[in-house]
Amino acid sequence: MLSYLIKRLIALVPVLLGLTVIVFAIMALIPGDPATAILGSFATPENVEKLNRDLGLDKPQVQQYLIWLGNLLQGDLGRSYSLNRPVLDEVLERFSATLILAGAALLLCTIWGLLIGIWTAARQYGWTDKILTFVVLIGISVPSFWLGLLLILLFAVELRWLPASGMFAIYGGGDLPDLLRHLILPALTLSVVATGVIARLTRSAMLEVLRQDFIRTARAKGVSETRVLYGHAFKAALVSIIPVIGVQAGFVLGGAVYIETVFQWPGVGRMLVQAISTRDILLVQGGVIVVAASYVLFNLLADLSQSWLDPRVKA
């Protein structure tokens, strides 16, 4: 088990290295450079050249990459030129905001997805199954940035129950209830699609298990239906549900990019969008490394919990 874990963690290194090479190459290939982005209409060749020199960007690309890599190995991610502060500070701050949002969304979609899935499986082809399956289908199909705007219009503009954007009240906030109030709308929006996916998969996984012999045996023994559902069937179905939740964790992280933009959540997704448009390559690299590493770790966690639940899946 431990050696498996170590092997997987070591495998992470080439994945991340490869990623940074690809990201660096893409950023080098797209036209435009940081100096042009900073100078805007004032970007004369002369001004651009001087500013690039001041920023240390006049060296060959390969050399720039190697310098960056060398610094990275010493734990230095460099200084962002669009934000004028260390990349590491910015990325960690932003990533914790993203983790809060994605974590809340993942919690929501897991709870709701499992409940809806079990509920509909237990009442296959009943009217609640039909209604919920329909609702789930809509949830999967709705573009979430649009849903986010509608929720803002309803809860922030019309009803004024919840704030429209941000992570904390700008004045006098900052405590947990304040964070939760700001979290509700973006987390809900972000969780909708994943809820649908988990609900559908849970439903089919449960249906498959419910058809198996040991369930019939349990029912024949007189075990209560609730215990059959949650104690026997759900536990068995969980093996095929867990990897789906793992994949959804990655999806939620990716989806955070536009939800963060709609709700002005100060997360790493919105940071990446800004960093790309200002050609802030150091910030892009820092952000991508963190997101990619967490994606891989989520998958690893899902794999580990699966093998823990089901010894047949070999770790």
Binding site: L55, L83, I111, W112, I116, W161, P177, Q274
Partner: protein, 518 residues
Amino acid sequence: MKKLSPWALGLAAVALAAPAALAQTPPNVLVVGQIAEPKSLDPHAVTAVNDFRILMNVYDGLVRYKDGTLEVEPSLASSWSISEDGTEYTFELRQGVTFHDGTPVNAAAVEFNFDRMLDESHPFHDTGPFPLSFFFSAVEDVEALDDDTVKFTLNAPYAPFLSNLAYPTGLIVSPEAVKTHGADFGRNPAGSGPFKFAEWESNAKVVVVRNEDYWGGAPSLEAIVFRPITDANTRVAEMLSGGIDIMVEVPPDSVATFDGNGFQLHEQAGPHLWFLILNAKEGPFADKRVRQAVNYAIDKKALVEQILQGTAEVASGPTPPAFAWAYNDALQPYPHNPEKAKALLEEAGHAGAELTFYVTEGGSGMLDPVPMGAAIQADLAKVGLDVKIETYEWNTFLGQVNPGLEGKADMAEMAWMTNDPDTLPYLALRTEAWPDKGGFNSGYYSNPEVDKLLEAARSATDQAERARLYKEMQAIVYEDAPWAFIANWKQNAATSERVSNFKLQPSFFLLLKDVSKS
């Protein structure tokens, strides 16, 4: 019990939300919805209007723009004199003014500011880079004559110098704060303005508080909170829900929402020009008649009213009317006259010509570039021109356009916002400003008469004489039509009814010293 949990969860969510009937923004604290996170609060290190909006309230310059105009008046300097040949500017500083950190605003501090920006061997030059330092490239030497007198020596007469001093790049920072914080000065700023920096929480807010000792009288607001809200729809929603008190850059589609309904909409035409660069070096646009034909063919009134929904005015020439003293009001916009355009094209032998048109997806001051480009394409099709659009993301676009259009395109969208009538024509219309010489004349316009006028205007120190030269230049450029003159943007802002004494400036700066809020 377990069956109940979805409902329990839902109830919990509502319970959490309900008691928080949302607090309005607090009285006497103004919350401003900004379009982006500032890059830095070091005025010499930034280039974006978005950052200037904060800086103008925290710092003072030697001079500033007079309320409602683009003419300079005393600020930290109480007076100044200019030498006969226009190369020496001597400023007398206001006495007893201190920076927010308590250190004095004196001649040595002014000298430090410009040396840091311009002298590569200055010990604090590495706190840059200073991308707009070329605004002061004419400055050869800055010298503190005594505690309250500072002399600037220029390498040649340069009339826009005073106007550039009023620009954010000319704001004066506290040397002690720079020495203390080094490269992090931009996050720990100290100026001498009406508001003192208090807090910067990344991606959430920048807070500035009242400077009780401000030399021009303490402001009435207790504090200002600048919130970055990049998405325009979210900014509108925040304004509607009471989360911000002032919203800048209201998108055209939302202007009507804020006209009345407990809001006030403010508009102010600024020194902005939206135009098309025409490639005068090769192809159809090498012929003046074709360039004029394009100016006649485009229905500018429809663009301004329908696409920009009244957030801009039709431009008549290369100089925006906001430069009141230098603007030639005898010029009328080219009328929309497709027949005349067709006749001119016929006469020039370029009827039905094929043209490549560079369009950008966004960018500073570009308004709605894609719909604008499409509408212009349609207008030109009506006079028989076959226009092919190529669209680029802003940075890529600049990388294509700024090195010149030769061999690539016939026309390109462009917009400029400047602080002096000299800047745009000097950098983008002279022969000496062709891209290979480091300028922005990407369409290779060249008229020796215009070159001479612009050089003369730059070295004249008398404003009336400068005005005469600029007006003459405008008349010639209007006739030569190196560009299609389209629109002058009106900056807008919406305020809630709790805000009073708010006013937009033609400089596009956001000056909040006199604003109050109930």
